[in-house]
């Protein structure tokens, strides 16, 4: 389909629907240029736009292991299966972890949230995506088919992560903070963050601040963390500024504006965390 005067506009690929992670891995190994497909809310538009042309798609949503799709609360953490959809996470954590629920519920639109998955979003690592900020802000641990990776080691650059090509995310472990909040200035059409801030404070008072949408990769704002660890109030942020020279800059928002927004979002997040 999607052809015009006999020319197919979507590149041809084979489709694989594995039942197990082992099958998914072997399908991936056998194809020349395979891509793992989760919810497809980024990969399929990217293929349609001609930006990627994998020879094979390995559909992970056909995997049978229920743990990959589950959301469970453990003693000191919340474990989210990599194939849990944003919509399911928003619903499941509305009571138990409102910050993560709010993050999930602010992605895309309802139909997109019904398909898109946390694992897909993390593996993609879009510089303006929400889940990378959540994972970095909470100091979460990523579980893969091979190992566990700390959030601080996972996000390595624009659309780049610590995952090997044939490695799949299986779960995300979010520790329970004492306080948390997420504030996002949402692009009204794409719903990505022009600036998003995920803030957590753990029991000993130390603070993590993760920024998304502002720089080429999600990152921690260490000066803000130090200021808030000393004094968890919006006033403690008065003198902080971000260097806009490396910031993302496009027709939607210039770098200095994104940096300004990040500061405003952080203050809002502090107020929200204290509420």
């Amino acid at each position: 389909m999607l052809s015009y005067q006999g020319v197919t506009l979507v590149p041809e690929f084979s489709y694989h629907s594995p039942a197990t992670l082992e099958e998914a891995h072997s399908s991936f190994q056998q194809a020349e240029d395979a891509a793992f497909l989760a919810g497809g809310m980024t990969l399929l538009p990217t293929i349609k736009a001609g930006l990627r042309a994998p020879s094979a798609l390995i559909d992970l949503t056909t995997l049978r292991d229920p743990a990959l799709f589950a959301i469970s609360r453990q003693d000191n953490s919340i474990v989210v299966g990599a194939l849990a959809t944003h919509g399911k996470i928003a619903h499941a954590l509305a009571q138990g972890q409102p910050t993560l629920s709010q993050i999930a519920g602010g992605i895309g639109d309802p139909q997109v949230r019904n398909r898109g998955t946390i694992g897909g979003a993390l593996a993609n690592n879009d510089p303006a995506a929400d889940w990378p900020a959540a994972v970095l802000g909470f100091g979460a641990t990523l579980e893969t088919t091979r190992r566990r990776i700390a959030a601080d080691a996972f996000f390595q650059g624009m659309f780049t992560t610590a995952l090997e090509a044939d490695e799949m995310l299986t779960a995300v472990h979010f520790p329970n903070p004492k306080r948390s909040a997420y504030a996002k200035f949402r692009h009204p059409a794409s719903r990505y963050a022009l600036a998003g801030v995920c803030l957590t404070q753990v029991m000993d008072g130390s603070v993590r601040v993760a920024l998304t949408g502002v720089f080429p990769c999600v990152m921690r704002w260490l000066a803000a963390e130090a200021a808030l660890s000393a004094d968890f109030t919006p006033a403690s942020l008065a003198d902080l500024t971000l260097d806009a020279s490396e910031a993302l800059s496009d027709i939607h928002a210039q770098g200095d504006y994104r940096c300004h927004l990040a500061q405003v979002m952080l203050k809002r997040a502090v107020v929200q965390a204290l509420a």
């Binding site: 489709y15 538009p45 349609k48 139909q111 398909r115």
Partner: protein
């Protein structure tokens, strides 16, 4: 080059040969003749192609047909219970007059929830997904928020919101949940 897709479409088991890169919306419209599911943007933004996959609202322009294997797909054509003597599935025209419309469809008619009608099938399917998530007593504010994945360029949305609110309540009276859930 093609693979056989077996799935349940509007309650009926179907088999259709598709190519791995065929999207559901194209298979529905071009191979199965169900043109009620519209193509607006083809980029998962406008919502005109919204259908229910196992009762859950999804955009059929961003779903591979083969991803529906073994699953239930409900399109706008599957909502009305066609009266006796109605023509074949998906046919357009006079028999629609005789159709026993789904309460959500009837509400769009009664509340003037459409003008040009292009977005309407997607709006109705999105309305059913809103009922699935929020129940039949869902309020107008929630409906307005949750229509963020469906664009209408005619109405200004007010009557669409009224229609979904009224349709949800009519579903409660008819003791209907989601038709495909």
């Amino acid at each position: 080059m093609t693979e056989l897709l077996r799935f349940t479409l509007n309650g009926t088991p179907r088999e259709v040969a598709v190519r791995p890169w065929d999207f559901l919306v194209d298979v529905l419209r071009e191979q199965l003749g169900l043109t009620g599911t519209h193509i607006g943007c083809t980029t998962a933004q406008c919502g005109a192609c919204t259908v229910l996959l196992d009762g859950v609202g999804v955009k059929a322009c961003m779903l591979l047909a083969l991803q529906c294997a073994g699953r239930h797909v409900t399109t706008i054509e599957g909502l009305a219970t066609l009266s006796e003597g109605a023509q074949s599935e998906g046919a357009q025209g006079e028999h629609v007059q005789n159709a026993n419309l789904h309460p959500m469809q009837r509400a769009f008619q009664e509340q003037h929830g459409l003008q040009c009608g292009f977005c309407t099938p997607g709006m109705i399917m999105a309305g059913l997904d809103i009922v699935r998530r929020h129940g039949t007593q869902v309020d107008a504010r929630t409906i307005a928020h949750d229509l963020e994945g469906n664009l209408c360029r005619c109405t200004g949305y007010q009557n669409i919101i009224k229609a979904i609110e009224a349709g949800a309540q009519a579903m409660a009276h008819a003791r209907m949940g989601n038709p495909a859930a």
